[in-house]
Amino acid sequence: MKSMTRRTFLAASGAAAGMAATQGFFPAVLRAQGEPLRIGCPLPLTGPFAALAADMQRGAQLAQDELNLKGGVMGHKVEVLFRDDQLKPAVGAQRTKELIENEKVQFIVGGLAAHVQMAINEQTKKSKVLFISTSQSDEISAKPDTSPITFHEALNPTITSRVVGKWTCDNLGKKWWIIYADYAWGKQNNQVLTDTLKANGGTLLGSTPYPLGSAEFSAHLPKIQAAKPDVLMSVTPGADNIAFLKQARSFGMDKQMKLAQPLLWIAYLKEGGPELYQDVHGALNWYWELQDTIPTAKKFVEASMKKFNMPPGDYGAYSYSGVMEVARGVELAKSTDSFAVADALRKSPTYDHFKGKQWWRTCDNKSFQDMWIMKGRGPGKTKGEWGLADIVARVPADEKYDRTCAEKGFA
């Protein structure tokens, strides 16, 4: 197995190097018109998170286009450079290093998967480059991993699982089984969900880890079925989510218990279809139908429909916002120095790019934002190609959902 992955890795690196060589060629032409503002964006463009990564690539491109249409940032054209981190921490660190050292990017926005973004963060800290992480993790905005130039745009497992956990307990049932991907994000969610369930008087009947990227869940299911929980809480990210739901339904579990998960992802709702996600509950950080009530959301959706003929998804919204925040920070600081930009963002922490007011908490550079509890619409109830979920409840941003500054290691 080892030699196989190494081979695959080498092959992919070769391809990436080839791509880098050609991409490196074009910016040289652009430089004639003044130094562009360069933002590196490492994403898992291959592997089980590929659909989300594609969404994030589109989001960052929308931000780039929007900024350049306005004449760039302080007269500099914005360029976002994408690299495939293959969902591997070592590759993520390597790509980030190459982006900073060879491509001379001034900022890093991106990362998807808790463990890969930690590796990216180690590299950006070493190179003293501001990093806006667009993926969930509890550690990224806590000591010892965080830094004054590490920002966290996404929700995190603590916030998501406290909110969804409580809501599920109150509305769907108090006897749970949790199945979770056995890596940082999955484990953190499992922990917070377990704590939240107990704090709300619920019972955890069992909790099962499985290896991330799994396509076969059947061996886990009979045990869960026999335990007869009210709620099956699945922490199964990316493509795993579809495989898991399909198999759970094929075993008839959807008729025996409620299905809930900390997060839904529109890209997978689309891929899996309404039948698969009918009545599955979970949270979203953003959903395109918010355009009906939020003006910045409408603008964001329209831009995406125009360029890609599809609305932006939840993770695309993170990367869009991340790039916009780099631009806002540079304009505020009138500098591309990472520390100056970080200070500027902390000094004027409030922003609204696509879904209403958000703000950076100054102790940990964590973004606070609204989230929504959603439910899969089911066949016949969908609206158009992408109207796949109902908003069940809006949860306004509140710092109380995250750990406190003190709990995260800030005195």
Binding site: M1, M4, T5, R7, T8, A11, A15, L45, T46, G47, P48, A50, A51, A54, D182, T208, P209, Y210, P211, A215, E216, S218, A219, H220, L221, P222, K223, Q225, A226, A239, I242, A243, K246, Q247, S250, F251, G252, E271, G272
Partner: protein
């Protein structure tokens, strides 16, 4: 732990085992006759799943897709043997191993180019959607179908190998190719056929797995490793060994998942190590064949 909880687990493991059996029996057939270690087997499994998606979309019939996709994978196998592997006969087992390994990478990257980096999902046919009440559990109808198809294919294969003239030559050829040639049999054609059948079985495994696991370019990467483990445990070249070890490994994965989910991936290799310590040539292996 009561028996009522274990029974569903054993049944679930059986389905996992069936996919292993289909992959391992093809590998073992090819190795037994040709001493070629076919590293591209996992990629052919992947092709089986993608071809099924393709023909399902094209013909709107899962049944047509289920028949056509494995045959087409078998045809790919024929082409691989005729155009690539045949050139390497007589050059030791390393060269075909490297060739098929490289081929697997080419196939995976090609699949990404054609069908995208994001996997595709496919559903079982309407007739097999939903669960059947077995008395002790509700079991997905499609998974019962997978067990049934695998058993049918195995019976057919057994009849082919033991009851037909071609089967006789295959068995003789794996014992003593030189003697079979001396008797005037064109072994090249037999090798071509066997390679095609082995690859077709991998395609069938992929076609059957598709509605359960979806189709994605890397789906064969771990499967081929686990299938080699099955072949080694069963005994290189032994068809009965591939069947027994495949079912056994399905149970190992299923039961380990039940008792200690974190160990499920490793346990397969632990079992291999133990079997090899006790029987270095595998459960049904003949000594000296793997050397």
């Amino acid at each position: 732990m009561d028996v009522a909880a274990i029974l569903p687990q054993i049944f679930t493991g059986l389905v996992l085992g069936m996919i292993f059996v289909l992959l391992a029996i093809g590998l073992s057939l090819i190795f037994g006759l040709m001493t070629v270690v076919n590293f591209a087997h996992g990629s052919l499994y992947m092709l089986g799943a993608y071809f099924t998606v393709f023909f399902l979309a094209y013909t709107k019939s899962f049944w047509v897709a289920l028949v056509v996709a494995p045959i087409l994978v078998g045809v790919v196998g024929l082409a691989v043997e005729r155009l690539l592997i045949r050139r390497l006969y007589g050059r030791g087992p390393d060269d075909p191993l490297l060739l098929t390994f490289g081929l697997s990478l080419v196939l995976i990257e090609t699949a990404k180019l054609i069908w995208g980096k994001i996997g595709l999902t496919l559903d079982p046919p309407r007739a097999l959607a939903g669960a059947v009440d077995l008395g002790f559990m509700a079991f997905p109808a499609y998974r019962l179908f997978v067990i049934a198809v695998t058993i049918l294919v195995l019976v057919g294969l057994w009849a082919f190998v033991t009851r037909t003239d071609v089967g006789l030559i295959i068995r003789a050829g794996s014992r003593d190719p030189l003697m079979v040639r001396a008797l005037g049999v064109d072994l090249n054609r037999i090798w071509l056929l066997v390679f095609g059948i082995g690859c077709g079985l991998a395609g069938l495994a992929g076609a059957l797995a598709g509605p359960m696991r979806g189709a994605y370019a890397d789906m064969g990467v771990t499967m081929v490793i686990e299938s080699f483990v099955v072949v080694v445990v069963g005994g290189m070249g032994s068809l009965l060994g591939a069947v027994v070890a495949g079912i056994m490994m399905g149970q190992v994965v299923g039961l380990t998942t039940f008792f200690a989910p974190k160990l499920a991936e490793i346990m397969v290799f632990v079992v291999m190590a133990v079997v090899l310590l006790v029987r270095p040539s595998g459960i049904f292996g003949e000594e000296g064949l793997a050397e």
